[in-house]
Point group: D3
Chain length 334, copies 6
C-alpha cells in the first residue's frame, strides 16, 4: 500500500488554453471556464504524454505501485502574481473543480488538495473561502500554501509573519494540513521556478522555526515539500543557535513540521529521514513531473522514489509502512 | 470578390496551452513548440466554435462572401509585455508558423500577416529578422505593428518617435504594409484590450501626423485598424491647427495613412469613407471575433460588415470594388 | 434662441499672471488673488483677442446667435496635478469668483459652471464644499468633472470606481449636472491636452457603462463633452457584449448619459445625433477656443457649429429646438 | 555712484499670463511669445506696484541712489523643473529678450544678466547657446547659475561635480561671471523657495571649495548671492579641516569666490565683509523684492541696504567705493 | 563656573566595534551589548586621543575651564536610518547606559542628555519610552532631537509638522529640553554630516517659526545647536514677512527658541548674541570634536570658545555669567 | 597535517570601531585606518573571546589539529552594499592588510585570502587591482567572491552572467582560486546573513552550471562554501534536465566546482563527499565562528568538523589525506 502525497493534476489542453486566454484578455471576455468533457479528463491520465516520458500518468502510478495519490494544482501554473484578482480566483476555482471531477471519475485513486487564490490583491482572509469550499463541499484533504505569492517579483512576508495567521486559523479550524509549495518565479528573481521551490522552502522553515507560529497554532500541520529545501542538509549550521538562546533544540523544533520525500537520490532521502525522523516524513514523488525521465545509467525513472526507499535497508517494517502510507493516512485522515 | 484584410488565426487549444506553459515556466522547460497535426489545424477552421457564435471560422467567411482573408496572430494573445524575451520570440515565431501552415493547407484562402516579437527587452532592430523571415521565406504580405509593446503597463514612445525608424526602414525595404494594431492591456491601464486598441490607434494617428515619419518614409504603408480609433469622428477638432501652422491641411495629412472598415455600424463606416476617402479604405472585418454574435434586433451577425457596405447607396461601382478588394490587392500586392 | 452649454471663461492676463506666480512660489507668497477691476473683466469679453481669431468673445457669440452661454473655467488651465493643494484650491475658487462676477456684469448672458479643486492631495469629499458654495451661494448651474486629476502623470481611478461616489452624491443632492471634461496633460503621457480630452471621455463612458454608477445614482446627470470621445463612432464594437451578457443593450445604456455637440464636422454631429438620440444631446461649441479659426475653404469659423446643425435637414423643428436650447434648459433648470 | 548687482526684471502681466499658458498647454499651442508693447514694458518699472510696497521699481532705485542695476530673470519664476524642455527654452529666451528691451528702453540704467534654460532634459552643453546669444548679441554682462535645476524635486549634482564643466568652460571663454542663485522649490522639499536659495548657496560653496573647480578654472568668476547662505556665519566650523588636510586655509579658499551683500541686517553684512574681505563683496539688494516692505520700527525699507552700508563706520572710503561700485565694475567689465 | 551644554560621549572602541557588528549581522547575533569595564570607560576620557588632537577629553575640559559638561551620544554615530529597528533601539539604549555610567564614574562632571531611537520604522510614540527611562531612571536632563531620522536618504516631516507632537508632549510632561541636532547623512544627499547639521537646523527653525508648535506647546524648550544654522545670519531675510502677515515680529518669534554658542569665530558668536539676545544663548563647545585642532595662526584650539567669549567686551558680567552657566542651569534645572 | 580553507580573520575592536566610524561619517573624516599594534593583532588570536565560546582562536585551531588556516575577511562585515565606494575600498584594503600582518606575525600558521571591494558603484574591473595587490604583493593565495554585492537589497546578476567575466579573467591570469561566499544581508531580504550564504551558494551553483562560465574559463577554480548550499542534497532534482538536453550529466558538471566541508553534521558531510566526490572537497571549518559552541549532547564544539570526518569510516587513507590537506595544497599551491 502506497500513498503519494505529492502529485499534481493532469489536465487537458483546453484548461490551459483557457488560462492563456485569461492572461491575454485579463477577464474582459468574462471568466467562464471552458467545457471539458469527462472523456477529455480521463484521457489526461490514460494517454501517453511527451512531458511524462511518453507514457501516461497512470502508467507512472501503476508501475510505482502508488495506490492513492494526493493531487493538487500544478504549482508553477498557479499564476498568483497575475491580475486582476478575479482571473486568479477563476482559474484556481476551476482547477480545483477539475481535481474534484478527477477524484470522482477515478474513485479511490485520488484525493484532492486545493489550490488557493493567493493573489496579493486579495487579503489572506479572502483566500479562505476557497479552502472552505474545497474541504467541506468537495471533500479535499488539504491545501497548497505558496509562501511567495509574488512569484519572485517582490519579497513577501515570510511564513513566520502574522500576515499568514488568518490562513493558519482556517487550516486548524478545518483540521487539514497545508503543503508548503511555491508557485511560479519571474524576473527580477534569477532562478527558475524549480529552484525557487527549494529557496522558498528553505526560507519558510527558517522563518517558521524563528517565529511563534507553531506555539500559537500547536495543531497546525505543515508539510514542507522537496525534503525541506536546504535545511536538513544544512541543519548543523542552526544547531548552535538553539544552544545559545536556551531555546528548544533546533532538531526538536524541526520536528514540529513534516516533510515529503520528493528527492531523487537515495543519499538525500536517507539524510532527511535521519535528520527529522521517519515519523515526520511522508512519501511523495511529484510523479509524473520534473523527474519523469529515464536515467540512462540505471534504466529507472528518476522519480521512482519507491525504489530508493526500498533500498534503504535500515528502515524497520513499521517505519517503512509509516513512511509509505501510515503517516499520510494519519495526518490527512484518509 | 471580397478580400478581408483584418482576420486573425484560429488555432487549436494545444497552441495556447503551450503558451500558458511558457508563461508559467518562463522558458525553464525550454521553448520547443507542441506537436500540432494538420488535422488539428484544419479543425480550428472547420469546426463550430463557441467563441464564434457556435459556427466555424469558414462558415463566417463563406456566408459573408469573403474569398481571401489576411490572417495575423490574435493580437490580444501576443504577450509582448511578458518576459524573458525568448518566450515572446518563441511564441511569435510559432504563431507565424501556424499561419504559414494554414496558408498552405487552404491554398488561396488565406494570406499571412506576421506578428513580430515586440518585447521591449529587445531592440527594434531585433524585431526585424522575424519580419524578414516571414516575408521572404513564408510569403507573408505584411505585418502587425503594435504601438504599445508595454501593453498598458508603461507609456511607450509614440509612433512618431525615431525609436520606430528601424522597423519603418525594413518595411519599406521589403515593400510590405504594416497593420497598426495594439496587443494586450494590463493594469495600471484602466481599459480592456478592446478599448485599448481604439485609444492606441487614436494616439498613433495623432503622433504620426504630428511627426515627420511620412516625410522621412514616403513609401511607408500604414493601415490603421478599427476605422482609425477616434480620429475620423473627431477630425474637425484638428482642422484649425492645420490652418494656423500653414501645414498641409489635416485631412490631406490623414490621407497619407490607410484605414480598415472594422466598424460595426453603417453610420460609422460612412463617416470613415467620407472623411478619409474610399481610396484610403480597406475592407476588414475581424471575423470571426469580437463581433461574431447575432444581433437580436436584425438577426444578422454584428460583424457582417459586407451587409453594411452593401447598404451604402452612394458608393459607385468602382468605389465598391476598390473598397472590397481593389485597394487591398494593390497595397498588399496580392 | 440658442443655449451653448460648452463655453469657457475669458479672463484678463492678471488672473493668469497670478497663477504663474502661484506655480512659481508654491504658495509661499500667500494665495491672495489679484485685484481685477470690472472694466478688466468686461474687456476680456469685448476686446478683440488674437487667440480668438482677432475678434472678441462677444463677437463670436453674437454672430453665432448664442443667447445664453454656460461658462466654466478653461479646463487646460485648471492645474489639478500641481501642489500644494492650497494653490489649486485658491486658483479654483478665484476662477469661480471671476465667472460669478461675469454672470453679474452681463446679466442673462452667462450661467456659471464651477471648477472643483480636484487635486489628489485632497479627498473627493474635500472637493465638495466648492461645489456647494458655487451652486448655493453663487447660483451656478453645474460643475466640471475632470476624470483625470493626475493630468496624464499617473493612472487615476476610472469614473466607474467608487472613489468618485462622494462627488456623485453631492451632485444628486444639489440636483446639478456635471460636465465631464479633462484638464491638462503632461508627460509621461504622450498626447497634448486636446487629445487627452478625447481619450479620457472615451474611457469615462466605457467605465461608467461597465459599472453600477447609473444604477446607484439614477438621478445623476452627466454630460460627456466633445461628442463623447470615440464612443459614438466605435459604438458598434460594444454592441455584441450587450448581447452576450444579457445586459441592457449598449445603445440604451449609452442613453443614460448626455453629450454635447462640440464636434466641428457635420458628419460627426449627425453620427452623434443618430447614435445617442437628439434628446440626449446638448448644443455646445467651446467658442471661442480651439476652433476659432476661419476655414479657408469655406470662409466660416470652424466652431460655427450652429451652421452645421442648420444643414442637418432631417431634424424636425422640435428636435432642433430641443437640441439648441430645450434639452439644456431642462437639464440645467435654466 | 552705486551699482546694484542683484536686481530682477519687472515685467507686465502678459509675460506671466503667457507662462501660465505654457504650463497649461505644455507647448501644444506653440511657444510664440505674447505681443508686449514698449509702453507696457516701461509701465512695469514706473507704476506703483503692490508687491513692491505700493511704489514703483524706479522709486526704489532712485531713493536708494542706485545708478545702475544688473537685472536678471526673477529666479523663482524660471521653472527649470518643468517640461517639455522647449517651454523652458522659450520662456527663458523671452525673459532675456524682455530684459534686453528694458536695457534699451532705459539706456544706462540697466545691464542684463541672462537666465539659462537649465532643464535637466537638456544637456549642460545645450544651455550654453543662450548664454552665448545673450552675451554676444544682446550685450549681457553675466548669467544666473541655478545650482538646483530640479527645484527641490530630486538631488542634483553639486557644483563641484564635473557635470557643470561645460558651463564653466563657456563662462570662462566669454569672460563673464555667473551669479549663483537657485530658482523655485517644490515638494518633496520642505522649504519655500526663499529658504531654498540659502540652502543651495550653502551647499554650493561647500561643494565648490571641496572640489577642484577653481583650480581647473582659475579664471571662473562666481558670485554667491544672499551673502553666501550660511557659510560666512559658520565659517569657523570649516577652519580645522583646512588644517588637518594641509590644504589651502579655508578662508583663503573662500576668497576664490565673490559674494553679494543681499542681507538685510547690518550685523550680517559686517560679518560678511570681515569674513571674506571687502574686495570679494559686491553691493546687491534684490530690490524691489522680498525686502520691499517698510520696517515699522525704523520707517525704512528692509531692503535699504545702502543705509546699512552707510552705517558701517570702519569702512575706508576706498573700500566703500569698491563695495558700492568698483568691484562690480571690475568683475562685470561695466 | 562654566557649564558646556554641547558635549558628546567618549567611549571605548568596544562600543563601536559592537555597533559595526550590529550593522553587519543586522541583529541575527542578537543585540546583547559588549562587556565594557569601568576602567575602559574612564580611559576614554583620560587617555590622549588622536581624534582630539592627541590630548584627552578631560584635558580639553580642564584647560577650557569647563566644570560641568552635558554629554549626549555622538550624533553622527546614531544610525537612525539603519534597520531593523531593534538594532537602533539596542544601540541607543546602550549608548545612554554608557553615558549614565560616565556620570556616575565622574560625579558632578557630567550630566546626561539622551539619544532616542529615532528610526522611522517606529512611531514617534515608540521613541518616548527611552526618553522617559533616561530622565526618570537615569537622571538625564534632556534629549537630542534629530530633525532628519532619514539621515539624508529621504525628506522627513519638518519640525513644524504634527508628526512630532507626541515627542513634544513627552518633553513638556517630563519638563526637559530637547537639543535639536541632526545625526548622519548619506547619499543621495550631497553634503557631509557636518554640513547637514547646519542645513537641518536652518530648516528646523524656519519650520518651527512658520508653525504653531510653540503656541501649542508654550512650555516646550528647544535648543538649536551650532548657533542656529544659517538663521541668525540670514534673519533680515525673514523680517519683512513678519510685517506683511501682521504676525509676531520675526525676531520675537526667534526668541521662543534657544541656541548654543557652538561657532568657532568670535564675529559669528557676537552676531548670534546680538540677534537672539544673550538670554536665549547657552555656552556649548562640541569639545572635543570637530574643532579640536590647534589653529596654527593663533596656537589656540579652534574650539576654545571660552576664549572667544572672553574677548567680547560688551558683555556685562551678568550676561557673561548667564551665558556661561546661568541660562543652562535654569533651563536644564541643574 | 590539516589545512583549513575556511577561516576568517580575528581582529581587534579598533578595526571595527573604525568601520563603525566610516559608516557614520561616510568618509568625511577621511579614510585613514586606525593605528593597531602588533600586540593588539596577536591578542585577537590568543585571548579568550566570548564570541568563540570563551576560548581563543588558537585554542580552536590547536585542539582541532589545524596546522594551516586560510583566513579571509569576516564576510558579514564586508559592507559591500554601503557607500560611498571609497569607504568600501578603504575598509577592504585595511582588512587585507591586517590579514597580511597576521600571516607575518604567525609564520606558517595562516595564508591570506583577500576580500575585494565589491561595491556596485565600482565596475568589476575596478575590483581587480586589490586582487592583484594582495596576490602579487602580499602573497595571498586566493580571494573571496561575494555573489551578492547588493547584500539582499536588490537582485544582482547571477554568477553565470557575463557581468562577472573581468573578475574571472583576473583569477585565471593570477592562477588563484575564488572562494564563493556571500557577505551581509539586509531588508527587504527576509533571511539573516547566515541563511543568505546558503541561498546565494545555491543560486550560484545553479547559475554557473547553466552557463558557459566553466567552458569559457576552463582553468577557473571556484570553491563553493558551506558544502554547496542546497545543491548536493537536492542534486537529484537536476539530474533529469541533464538527460533531456543531452548536456554533460549534471553530476559531472557539478564536479567542475569545488566545495568545502563546512557543514556541522556527519550525515551532511557524507552526502557531500558522495555526491561530488572526495577529490572535489576541501576541509573547511569556519572556526572559530558560527559553530563555536559546545554541543551539550556531545560535549564537542559544533564546528569540530575534523571529528566528524574522523568518523567517516569508508574514507580511504588517501582520500582522507586529500580531504584534510592534499586537495587544498594542490588548488591553492600551498
Amino acid at each position: 500500500m502506497i500513498v503519494d502525497v505529492h502529485g499534481h493534476v493532469s489536465a487537458p489542453s483546453e484548461l490551459y488554453a483557457w488560462k492563456a486566454g485569461l492572461l491575454a484578455h485579463r477577464g474582459s471576455h468574462g471568466v467562464r471556464p471552458p467545457r471539458i468533457s469527462d472523456d477529455q479528463l480521463r484521457e489526461a491520465y490514460t494517454a501517453p504524454n511527451a512531458s511524462f516520458g511518453d507514457v501516461s500518468h497512470f502508467h507512472h502510478l501503476d508501475t510505482a505501485g502508488v495506490d492513492v495519490q494526493l493531487i493538487s494544482p500544478r504549482p508553477y501554473q498557479m499564476m498568483h502574481s497575475e491580475g486582476p484578482a478575479r482571473i486568479v480566483e477563476a482559474f484556481t476555482e476551476e482547477v480545483n473543480n477539475v481535481i474534484h471531477r478527477d477524484t470522482e471519475l477515478f474513485p479511490g485513486r485520488f484525493r484532492g488538495v486545493a489550490g488557493l487564490p493567493q493573489t496579493m490583491d486579495l487579503t489572506v482572509e479572502q483566500w479562505v473561502p476557497e479552502l472552505r469550499r474545497t474541504v467541506t463541499e468537495l471533500g479535499f484533504v488539504g491545501a497548497l500554501l505558496n509562501p511567495d505569492p509574488y512569484e519572485g517579483t517582490r519579497v513577501p512576508p515570510a511564513l513566520g509573519d502574522r500576515f499568514w495567521y488568518p490562513l493558519y486559523e482556517a487550516l486548524v479550524e478545518l483540521d487539514v494540513p497545508a503543503i508548503v509549495h511555491a508557485a511560479g518565479c519571474r524576473a527580477p528573481a534569477r532562478e527558475p521556478y524549480s529552484l525557487h521551490f527549494i529557496q522558498e522552502e528553505t526560507v519558510a522553515i527558517w522563518s517558521l522555526l524563528s517565529s511563534d507560529v507553531l506555539k500559537d497554532f500547536p495543531d497546525l500541520k505543515l508539510i514542507i515539500t522537496h525534503g525541506g529545501g536546504a535545511i536538513p542538509y544544512q541543519a548543523g549550521r542552526f544547531l548552535p543557535s538553539g544552544v545559545r538562546s536556551g531555546a528548544t533544540p533546533y532538531l526538536d523544533r524541526l520536528r514540529t513540521l513534516r516533510f515529503d520525500t520528493c528527492l531523487y537520490t537515495r543519499d538525500a532521502i536517507e539524510l532527511l529521514l535521519k535528520t527529522v525522523g521517519v515519523d515526520r516524513c511522508l512519501f511523495g514523488t511529484e510523479k509524473p513531473g520534473t523527474g519523469s525521465q529515464i536515467d540512462p545509467a540505471t534504466g529507472r525513472w528518476f522519480d521512482d522514489i519507491h525504489l530508493l526507499v526500498d533500498e534503504i535497508e535500515w528502515l524497520t517494517d513499521d517505519q517503512r509502512e509509516s513512511l509509505l502510507h501510515g503517516n499520510a493516512e494519519s495526518i490527512f485522515a484518509l
